[in-house]
Subunit: 329 residues, 2 copies
């Protein structure tokens, strides 16, 4: 098994990426191809100890920045780590591609270069989110901001497969994110999507309100890429703001500081629980290849965990299952 990793993607690249890759090859049965500026990658690799034969470096001279248009790897920067990495995945029979770089660019390059899975019209980025019960799978968190009802329907089918095969959930339930529970609520787009899912999705539970995302009521939560993206960014920033507020308040009182010290291991447990990087990556579903998008601020651990998540998809042969189940719809 060989996974291609964008060495230049993310705010802490290439250091964090290389370190995460080294962690991965040291404790998993996986080989990695690091794509990016060779000198800089090698410089980072030299800091670590690892089985040499498990990491290969492929040079790509350009880097797509976080604020560049999605089309960049396809037009201006064809020798970028994103463009070359996805090309490697396509041409060289490698097994997966992982990037913590420009999400739009990864989505665009994957869609065009790899093509879509037969039967799927648009890709969707899924995210495993922690809930009060266990995990749910939210799709789409940012690939397709302006989808058609059929795109959400197909995302729901993919989410079901992912939740069952990768998250191990039996007969996963599906909810459509809406601003009310009744079928009559929401925009025309959402109402049409609701009709389509009611007709064609046996496990469809109807609408789910945003207030229920973290309760674990639905295994799969379907939203357009705009709303899904807002959900994860609000959630992430609110957790950060709460933590900042907590620190600020605690510092006002020595007694509270002592109290916080006593609670430390429990607070860390919560942090770990709510930590998106625990899962490490968000699968880009619908393209003809295993692509994993990591958080821009990915730590080495997040990169390692993204590799673990990609490995799981490969082990479970997710592409073939998706192809089989979506293809017949």
């Amino acid at each position: 098994m060989k996974i291609v990793v964008d060495a230049m993607g993310g705010d802490f690249a290439p250091q964090a990426v290389v370190e995460g890759v080294v962690m991965a090859v040291n404790d998993m049965d996986v080989d990695v191809v690091l794509v990016g500026i060779e000198d800089r990658i090698q410089e980072e690799l030299d800091k670590h100890t690892y089985p040499r034969e498990k990491i290969e470096v492929v040079h790509a001279s350009e880097v797509v920045n976080m604020d560049e248009p999605a089309i960049t790897p396809l037009r201006k920067k064809r020798d970028s780590s994103i463009a070359q990495g996805i090309k490697l995945l396509k041409d060289s029979q490698y097994d997966a591609f992982i990037s913590a770089g420009n999400t739009g660019a990864v989505v665009a390059a994957s869609t065009i270069t790899l093509g879509m899975l037969k039967g799927v019209e648009r890709p969707g980025i899924g995210l495993v989110i922690p809930t009060l019960k266990k995990f749910s799978f939210l799709i789409d968190v940012g690939a397709n901001a302006d989808p058609k009802p059929n795109h959400l329907f197909q995302s729901a089918l993919m989410a079901e497969v992912y939740a069952r095969e990768i998250l191990g959930l039996d007969n996963p339930s599906v909810g459509l994110l809406n601003i009310g529970e009744e079928a009559t609520k929401g925009t025309d787009f959402i109402k049409e999507t609701h009709r389509l899912m009611t007709e064609r999705l046996p496990n469809f539970q109807g609408n789910i309100e945003a207030s229920e995302i973290f309760t674990g009521r639905c295994d799969c939560i379907i939203a357009d890429g705009f709303v899904g993206n807002v959900v994860i960014k609000v959630s992430e920033s609110l957790m950060e703001a709460s933590a900042a507020l907590l620190r600020r308040e605690i510092k006002k009182s020595p007694v509270a500081m002592f109290g916080a010290a006593l609670m430390k291991s429990r607070l860390q447990q919560i942090k770990r629980y709510a930590d998106y990087t625990e899962y490490g990556g968000a699968p880009l579903l619908g393209v003809n290849g295993i692509v994993m998008i990591s958080h821009g601020r990915s730590s080495p651990k997040a990169v390692r965990n993204a590799i673990r998540a990609a490995k799981r998809e490969i082990d479970h042969n997710i592409l073939n299952i998706l192809l089989k189940e979506i293809g017949i719809q």
Copy 2:
């Protein structure tokens, strides 16, 4: 000053509403008209001590339930507390209407019965949200799920007036909620709205990502009613889920329980800070009258605070200012 309050609105009506109204008349210079089922209101009133002349009861025989269609007070239940309360506001020269009932029904009845402010096409529900700096004003959190760019532009104008006059912010800044900072990001609808605001809104700061809502970067944050509603529901539920998780973790360790006890006053400070009910109500802007929508789960304190917020709008003559400033656009 006389404020009409829907006695039957909210999950804990009429008890919580009546209790909140009694709190308000006891410590503010305000009179209240309670609208709803007279016997039940009187029964609750009898439990309290208050200046009799400050609370009037007007009978309305029906109640709009939380899950009924928005059109209910206009069609099926014309003698509901919502329909009659808004009618009172219109016909009797009272000063404001407050309801913790069915939001859609309050919006529909207000829009049709009161009509729109001259120059405004659609109403928007604004919400004062706590940020790491102070407060921001998010509009629309649920009145208009499928707006046109011009509706968001008008909401931005109203938000500026509200932030300046009611929240006391100098020269409030405006941001458009989007999934990226660049003008090229988002849906066609958002891009067109961005163009319109860039052209016609001097204090427009461009797009703001959901991750920045709680940092306080923009005083006014503009979103369509679908996205805005998702933002507040995700935020609220995430805070609740975090608190539940915290309690669960703390209970696992006596040391942590002791630590939490030492932190209690600080944790309560945060709870107070993040508490939406502190502000008590969300103004429905754009209709020709002062209407305040309270949370369905409003406590007596939330009802009291909603009355205080409505009183502030009346004191600042917000309707006339809105009319003057929006009317000339």
